[in-house]
């Protein structure tokens, strides 16, 4: 395959990057190599983490890990200054044409703001991967959003949430996340069989897996036969395990821990439904779309971009946020008949294929750069 000579060099900032596998990381894993093929070379600055190199190349992408939030947390004035010095050295080495913040509500925002305030004439773009909340109305976040050449959102909900922060008439672009195709397909489920439910993500309260456990307990009490697998780890794992035990369904809930991407995909294909009962901050719902691509229907909370990925009653079910009873009702509705379940799964796949294609996502970012980095437009 021919790789285009870089015609645009971008220094991207992402709160986390590979080997972590959150929504942004999964997107960038497939997006950056595809952009490279189109002549857009991206290096990534991200948060340092225990056991990971401060600098390495991953899938052809140069990755710089700095203690962005750790330096602030230290309350030692020298630490953020050192990070700034490292960042300036990275900019001098990379000589980017533009900066691109993937998420503006991150510790890197402070450093980028400082970099730009010291005469760095670099243009920058912001991509919102999560819906901004009231508490995000911070000085640095507002300032960076106001000064960006353009802002993209991975869902309309993301863009709408940013509207109060953005100057009137500012450039905004919707770029849905793209899901690469897969040969995996949802395992069959037949009436009377145990339904396999799946949650994938960090075990934190925001993801609402406690609601999934509570909903399963309610549904089981009403005659539903299901098991719930939870992939991921996080600070709430012990609490979630305790909740399952307290509700008497510990034998129906499996905590699988962190799994390699291929194993996550395999578990997803084994599942009969994906649950995403998030409480907040879901910009898109990548795992919901990934499951949908396999024909696995999802039940999601009406929050952020989740209810754009799933059309209620057609490609899955949407329930009110923070409502375990509604989630239990939805479980019973989804599995009321084999035909209904199969139909929702087929529609879920259709929606992902037609609306959340990987190529369309790549094209969206190429257009984003071309439209808003005017001096590079012809080159792209």
């Amino acid at each position: 395959m021919t790789v285009a000579t870089p015609r645009l060099r971008v220094l991207a900032f992402s709160p986390l990057f590979l080997p972590f596998l959150g929504g942004i990381e999964i997107l960038l894993r497939t997006l950056l190599p595809a952009l490279r093929q189109r002549g857009i070379e991206t290096a990534v600055v991200t948060e340092s983490a225990e056991g990971l190199a401060s600098r390495e190349e991953m899938d052809g992408t140069r990755v710089y890990r700095l203690p962005l939030s750790g330096a602030v947390r230290s309350r030692n004035a020298l630490e953020p200054l050192r990070v700034m010095q490292q960042l300036r050295a990275i900019v001098a080495e990379e000589r980017p044409d533009a900066l691109h913040l993937h998420s503006v509500a991150q510790a890197a925002a402070y450093y980028v703001e400082r970099l730009l305030s010291q005469g760095g004439a670099l243009p920058y773009l912001v991509s919102l991967h999560g819906a901004l909340e009231t508490e995000d109305q911070l000085q640095v976040v507002r300032g960076l959003l106001a000064g960006a050449r353009a802002v993209s959102g991975v869902s309309q909900a993301c863009l709408d949430s940013a509207a109060p922060f953005l100057p009137a008439g500012s450039a905004r672009q919707l770029i849905y996340n793209g899901i690469p195709d897969t040969d995996l397909r949802c395992a069959p489920w037949r009436q009377g069989e145990t339904a396999r439910l799946l949650c994938v993500g960090r075990l934190q309260l925001e993801k609402g897996y406690d609601l999934a456990i509570a909903a399963l307990a309610i549904a089981v009490a009403r005659g539903f036969d299901g098991r719930l697998a939870i992939i991921g780890r996080g600070e709430q794992e012990l609490n979630f395990r305790a909740l399952a035990a307290r509700l008497g369904i510990a034998d129906r809930v499996d905590f699988l821990g962190e799994l390699a991407p291929s194993l996550v995909a395999a578990e997803m294909a084994r599942a009969h439904a994906l649950l995403a009962p998030s409480r907040m901050r879901e910009g898109f719902g990548l795992v919901v779309a990934e499951a949908g691509r396999m024909g696995v229907p999802a039940i999601v909370a009406k929050t952020g971009g989740l209810s754009e990925v799933v059309i209620d009653g057609r490609s899955g079910l949407v329930v009110p946020r923070e409502d375990a009873d509604a989630l239990a009702d939805a479980l019973l509705r989804l599995f009321r008949s084999e035909g209904h379940w199969r139909d929702l799964g087929a529609q879920a796949r259709e929606r992902v294929v037609t609306t959340f294609g990987h190529d369309a996502c790549v094209e969206g970012y190429v257009r984003f750069y071309a439209d808003h980095l005017g001096e590079k437009r012809r080159a792209l």
Partner: protein, 143 residues
């Protein structure tokens, strides 16, 4: 008038062209570079307003009359923010020391205030971590 810094409330460092001052009581961060970093360094060494104007005039090749209003304004802001306090009894040091750096044209000293740094890092996906950093939970989350 000379000034000093309340070490119980304020910590500060300079690295090359940038200075960072933290009010450890409020959690506010103050960042500045260029002429502000030089002004801060001089005040921290015990410079009066006039001392600072004279030395910065020489450093930047600009008349003291031209730069004095900006220096006074900046000192006023630093006093208002509680980052320095008046120290009439402080004695003048023997000399002044500033890092040997290329300097741009004089611009009035200014600094940025960040009152929500802690909130900002709490927005990160790796919050709820301990001093060791991600993925280690803080003690209250360990059992």
């Amino acid at each position: 008038m000379r000034y000093d810094i309340d070490a119980q409330r304020v910590t500060h460092e300079r690295l090359n062209e940038e200075v960072l001052i933290i009010n450890v009581v409020s959690g506010a961060y103050y960042s500045g570079s260029g002429s502000f970093a030089d002004l801060w360094s001089l005040l921290a060494q015990g410079a009066s307003t006039e001392d600072a104007a004279a030395h910065l005039s020489e450093t930047f090749g600009e008349s003291a009359e031209t730069i004095l209003p900006g220096i006074r304004d900046s000192i006023g802001h630093l006093l208002a923010k509680g980052l320095i306090r008046e120290a009439p009894d402080r004695e003048a040091p023997d000399g002044w020391s500033l890092p040997d750096l290329p300097r741009a044209e004089w611009q009035a000293p200014s600094f940025a205030e960040y009152t929500d740094m802690w909130d900002l890092i709490q927005l990160d996906p790796i919050h709820e971590v301990g001093e060791a950093g991600w993925p280690f939970a803080p003690p209250e989350h360990r059992t």
